[in-house]
């Protein structure tokens, strides 16, 4: 079997991740922060280690500004709903996932002034056009760090500068880049950084988070979800202090334990090394694809401008047929269709049919890329 669906979730998970999760249940089974006994403290320590690992991985100075959530979708929703008021102007891009687009469309029903900055057919953004749309007084700019359909990397630091110049905050959806591209939040200057645990960080599903930068005025945000935190129990109001303001209810300790192990795994491997391996695989994949008659590749040509996620169509074949045959005849696992991102498929001109998405990752080998190219050639022939 060849697993080319890393953009959906990474598989297999590193053995340390499984071990950390079993250890958590065996040895740290208390409810963190709810009781003061040793098992509760042991659970709290594991979660603190995860907070420290996430802060270190992304170059954020303060682990207490890392808020754990069930996935990036929740992180994005919490950030957007906590921050935005009716009448606020928000600028986003033409390559967003529905986990950004849908919450923004919901907020637009109650008066959010939502603007979508168009992207070019490779998924790239025109920074001059963006600058014109991010008018003074814009509250927030939200961008996908890399497209989950075509892999295009958006210039986060440039978008941050444009946002801040207009007095806006900048929120980054790092679902596709956390653990895949070296990220330093101090250099990128992101104000709200949302990540998921189960893709490039190699943690389990059910983990993710939101990291708030210093520019964000936490006191001016709504809590979104309110409830027990283990702290300030004498008060019936939600605490204002991070991370408790946004972390309510018993956390997914077992998942967070696995996430910490996943983050440590990619850091030990070296994210720069992961990136250069993936660039080589992408170059090999794209070079091979261009030799197959009838294949169209979407997204930027240069491996430096993209992640390893590559979308293709085959002339005269439906994407569902290609995906099915890859799985059924060749045991190659991909994802076809719209990839939760109708905006991107409109941008690249593949709506509503979609594409076949080939997404190699950490454990993919050059031999597997060759086998995939042979399978696609066979499917293209008949």
């Amino acid at each position: 079997m060849i697993y080319l669906d890393y953009a959906a979730t990474s598989w297999p998970k590193p053995p340390e991740v499984l071990k950390a999760m079993v250890d958590f249940l065996e040895r740290a089974g208390g409810n963190p922060g709810r009781s003061g006994h040793r098992l509760s403290i042991a659970a709290g320590r594991v979660i603190n280690e995860a907070r420290e690992a996430a802060a270190e991985c992304f170059g954020s100075g303060d682990p207490l500004r890392v808020i754990f959530t069930p996935n990036v979708t929740y992180a994005l929703n919490v950030g957007l709903q906590a921050l935005l008021q009716p009448g606020d102007r928000v600028v986003t891009t033409g390559i967003e996932h529905n986990s950004v687009m849908r919450p923004l469309r919901e907020l637009a029903k109650t008066g959010l002034d939502l603007v979508v900055a168009p992207c070019d057919p490779t998924g790239g953004i025109d920074l001059d056009a963006l600058r014109r749309l991010v008018t003074p007084g814009t509250r927030l700019v939200v961008a996908n760090h890399a497209s989950n359909v075509v892999g295009t990397i958006l210039p986060a630091a440039d978008i941050a500068a444009i946002s801040h110049h207009a007095g806006a905050l900048f929120m980054l959806d790092a679902a596709q880049t956390a653990g895949v591209l070296p990220i330093d939040l101090k250099t990128l200057d992101v104000d709200l950084f949302a990540f998921t645990g189960h893709k490039g960080l190699h943690g389990p599903p059910g983990t993710g988070g939101l990291i708030l930068g210093e520019r964000v005025d936490v006191d001016a945000m709504r809590p979104v979800f309110a409830g027990g935190t283990g702290s300030r129990s004498e008060r019936e109001q939600q605490p204002e202090i991070l991370p408790d303001k946004f972390e309510v209810g018993t956390p997914n300790g077992v998942g967070i334990a696995g996430l910490a192990a996943g983050i440590r795994h990619v850091m030990a491997h070296g994210i720069a090394a992961i990136r250069s391996d993936e660039m080589a695989l992408t170059a090999q994949l794209c070079a091979g694809l261009t030799t197959i008659p009838g294949v169209q590749i979407y997204g930027p040509g240069s491996p430096a401008a993209r992640t390893a996620t590559v979308s293709v169509t085959l002339a005269g074949k439906s994407v569902s047929e290609v995906g099915w045959r890859l799985d059924d005849e060749f045991e190659i696992l991909t994802r076809v269709g719209l990839h939760c991102s109708p905006a991107t498929h409109r941008t690249i001109g593949t709506f509503p049919e979609g594409t076949v998405r080939l997404a190699p990752g950490l454990a993919t080998t050059p031999a597997e890329i060759d086998a995939t190219l042979r399978a696609l050639s066979a499917i293209a022939r008949g």
Partner: protein, 74 residues
């Protein structure tokens, strides 16, 4: 001098982070339930040796662990 100081913090996350940074700084730390005479908060507090007070507060400030109070304890 009392035997211990008890450092109160605002959240469990801060207590855990406080314990980790003080441990890394080589200070002896124990997490204890917040003494009911100090606060009605039912969370955890950080107990250190009395003589470590200044060093502990410096480390916590540097690591941005906000504290809610420091009390003596026998």
């Amino acid at each position: 001098m009392p035997r211990y100081r008890v450092i109160l913090v605002h959240t469990t996350a801060a207590a855990m982070r406080g314990e980790a940074v003080l441990n890394r700084a080589g200070l002896g730390v124990k997490l204890i339930p917040v003494p009911r005479n100090l606060s009605s908060d039912c969370g955890l507090a950080i107990r250190i040796a009395a003589q470590d007070r200044e060093q502990a507060l410096t480390v916590l400030a540097r690591e941005r662990v906000e504290i809610a109070g420091v009390h003596d304890m026998e």
